[in-house]
Subunit: 382 residues, 2 copies
Amino acid sequence: MKDFRYYNPTRIEFGKGKEKNIGKYISEYGVSKVLIVYGSDRIKKNGLFDTVVKSLRDNGITFEILGGVQSNPVLSKVYQGIEIAKIKGVEAVLAVGGGSVLDSVKAIAAGAMYNGDIWDFFTFKAVPNKSLTIFAIMTLAATGSEMNNYAVVTNEQTREKFSFGGSSTYPTVSVINPELQATVTKEYLAYSAADIFAHSLDLYFSASYLPEYIAGYVENILTTVIRTTEILLVDSSNYEARGEFAWAATQALNFTTFCGVENNRFDTHFIEHTLSAEYNIAHGAGLSIVVPAWMKWQKRNLPERFERFAQKVFNVHSADAGIDALLKWYKKIGTPVTLKEGNIPEEDIPMLIEKLLVVAKMWGAEKLYTKEMISTVFNNAK
Amino acid sequence: MKDFRYYNPTRIEFGKGKEKNIGKYISEYGVSKVLIVYGSDRIKKNGLFDTVVKSLRDNGITFEILGGVQSNPVLSKVYQGIEIAKIKGVEAVLAVGGGSVLDSVKAIAAGAMYNGDIWDFFTFKAVPNKSLTIFAIMTLAATGSEMNNYAVVTNEQTREKFSFGGSSTYPTVSVINPELQATVTKEYLAYSAADIFAHSLDLYFSASYLPEYIAGYVENILTTVIRTTEILLVDSSNYEARGEFAWAATQALNFTTFCGVENNRFDTHFIEHTLSAEYNIAHGAGLSIVVPAWMKWQKRNLPERFERFAQKVFNVHSADAGIDALLKWYKKIGTPVTLKEGNIPEEDIPMLIEKLLVVAKMWGAEKLYTKEMISTVFNNAK
């Protein structure tokens, strides 16, 4: 085990109907005015918005509203939220939606307490150390944003998709009611599964040291995702499977998998963020294209770990067989595995490589993310 | 997944030499005066005490001292600590030791902020809602006390070993340096392994509903404990194994295993606490006697789960074979499996049953902990 610090103050309220208590949870922290942020009008049609509003009113909490957050959330919407938060003097921001809504909320909450441009946080020009209080009601399980302090936002002017995180941007309370996640399409369920896989495999296959305890911990997340995704594709109303899927998503990126691990990276996220910034492809769909292609590049560096993965997760017996099994599983659940299937023109590869090399330089990671590495991954994804 | 709330604000500082930073960690919380609590003089001989004192002084923190906490910590020592804390006006209590020291510290921290008798918390006459700030440096991995809010203390007058926990009794920072745990005897390592097993198996074999994700999570803890214990019995200086063992101990009782589980109980702890209160047997040694005896009683209620355990943890293929494998493993690592091996007179069984029935009544659990159940478990332990 390598040295680590673990601290995660987010309170999770998991279960049926817990969104009805959101006003109570918020009032426990002395908050009396919030900004509600959401995505499409679906939450107005299905009654969730009314439930939230009623709970806030019952607890004497006033609110402002900002809808229209899209997946691959954009910076202009974040600016809008920051303006409302500052002008109206809200004390907290409440996300009602999936990871994109919550990521926007984290940026709004930090931006409302910052006098500069919020994009400074994403480009390492400033570090966020205070935020409005953050609450969330999750309608999609995938990103793990509900129990971590990170946010990913796309600057649509520059087509850059970057992330930031500070000590103040953990949600204070996140509500996870699997029933609210039961109407997600099969397509998005598959993308979500691919997202959870990528969070797990980025760590599993990049760490220069991975304690066996953590390897087993991650494998348990992966086998849970495989089992529950397959149940949900047949029976979308299966509450138990929906619940385990949601909790596996949370556990995959609440940094419990980081404990004792050395030098883990986010290689596939690094590459995918440029795809979704450029083509607005669903993040999970981008990841199912990049992950196997990256694994083919990375396997030479950690042959034993690739064999272990093959054995433990897919019950096959070689590194290559493990990658093939993952590719087949992605195809089975219906998420793309090639650039073509993701409608990404192969002739754009040189442009994508150039964009990634610029980001790599900003991160000070040019030695890791070389032209050879990036182009090999793209070629593997053809 | 059943409904749950998860909230655990303890910050873990894990790794080599982290105890040297304890003064810095404490000062981050604005604390300027602490009570150091420890067990035997071992920490004075091996230099740990001096390291702690230096770190406190370097950070301008003054301190009082209370040594002499024994395993199966006693109430009289807690009273002593509360008195010092109140008279000297300390703001925090720092445990330097194992679970017994930290449990005493939790009781001291809560008792110092309470005007009645601290034993009221253990007998459900009062609920602790404020405490002095709690810090810990762990020299033994077993109880998981470093990342939960519970404390177990023995009232040596009444020979009752009870527990309490409140929202204020989570450690604020716990330091886990596996190197500090490397000098534990082989005997106590085995008892510690048995304690972690009991925390895991109490949940695994009592829950009326256990999500498959959590089953896998617990099995990963158990197989980690088996693997690392066997390494450490041969090579006590193996840092990686020591580290994984320590982290598995923490994870087994930081309530992550409780998420989504229904009706889990602490049956073996309920029974064992009376043994260690009565005979001052090491808690882990008492547990390795009680656990298999209780499993033999419990297996009829959850036959499929016992078969799963047998398969996943010991790679054998029936409930009985799983229990046998556990018994053999306990013998192999050198922890007792019968009352006789634990020097507990079999003729005391009727007296022990009567004591347990009194506790069961206090807990309102007479229907669960019947005379038939308790006597069957003791008879299975002959």
